[in-house]
Symmetry: C2
Subunit: 183 residues, 2 copies
């Protein structure tokens, strides 16, 4: 099916906030029925997240304070691309090393993750990292996170119980679990 009946087209585009992190736009668009509407959204470079799993089935996780929700939550390692052109796999290797110290010898792409397609164009490339070798982490001075491990089955349980509520972490834990069952 062509799905032309669903498409919205830009009439005007205005940047309404230029931040350090957020680039907010407000666009006027024409709807499929000819009416107009406003679409507000964040323009994002893209990001990566990594579910690192050790040879004995432990997931490397992080506890991190997320200011918008004022909570310390459990997440897999993740980070923004340094530029729109950065290769996502290189970014994933960098983030894994910097945040956890681990280097992985096997990388499996787990697909894309869009966390808020209604108001952000952020696409996160998800990876499963295996054959891990431990090194030293290199956090920025102003970066604070605790690294810990948990058996994959326990991570699945915490996802199913709703204890783990970070979207990309839910997706990566359950995808990795599906994959591991098949291999």
């Amino acid at each position: 099916m062509s799905e032309k009946n669903l498409v919205e087209n830009m009439i005007t585009s205005t940047q309404v906030f230029k931040g350090k992190l957020l680039q907010i736009f407000s666009d006027e668009v024409s709807l499929p029925n000819g009416n107009t509407a406003i679409r507000e959204y964040n323009k994002h470079f893209g990001a990566v997240c990594i579910i690192p799993i050790t040879d004995d089935g432990q997931v490397i996780l992080e506890r991190q304070f997320r200011y918008p929700i004022h909570e310390v939550i459990t997440e897999i390692p993740a980070g923004k691309l340094d530029s729109p052109d950065e290769d996502p796999l290189s970014a994933a290797k960098r983030e894994l090393r910097e945040e956890t110290g681990y280097i992985a010898n096997t990388w499996i792409h787990l697909g894309l993750f869009m966390g808020a397609a209604a108001y952000s164009n952020e696409k996160i490339n998800m990876y499963l990292a295996k054959d891990l070798v431990r090194g030293e982490r290199e956090l920025d001075d102003d970066e604070f996170l605790d690294v810990f491990t948990m058996p994959l089955e326990e991570a699945v349980r915490e996802v199913m119980d709703g204890k783990i509520a970070d979207g990309k972490t839910i997706a990566a834990v359950l995808k990795a679990n599906e994959l591991m069952k098949k291999s």
Copy 2:
């Protein structure tokens, strides 16, 4: 563990964009090491999403144009709360009926989903809806989406293949699949 070593505290908070959809704030915060930093984020009421599964194992899905990414994507039914106080389950029942026409007699809470905790406080309550009865959908005049069905196993395959990349849909499909296996 206390995790006080991770917490950031607000010094000032400024609303930098007041939109129809987005409410963007830029806060100055104090970091655990005493330095200061800027945190930019969207304040959101919260939302709901629903994975409706028919008695014969078909998932009710939608094809919807998402302007920020300029693509028509596959998603489960979802919507914002009408107000911060709206009961999420009532909102889920409303969204399911309006977008798909279906009414469900069994509702199972699948936990919370946070799609972009770094820059949005949006929390989505996820539900599995079963024992479905078909009715008439009631879209707003300016709302455009196609509803279709797909067997749950096929939805799992599309999630694993990366064809389905909408975050809440990945999470809900794999959570429902885990749950169904146990029942």
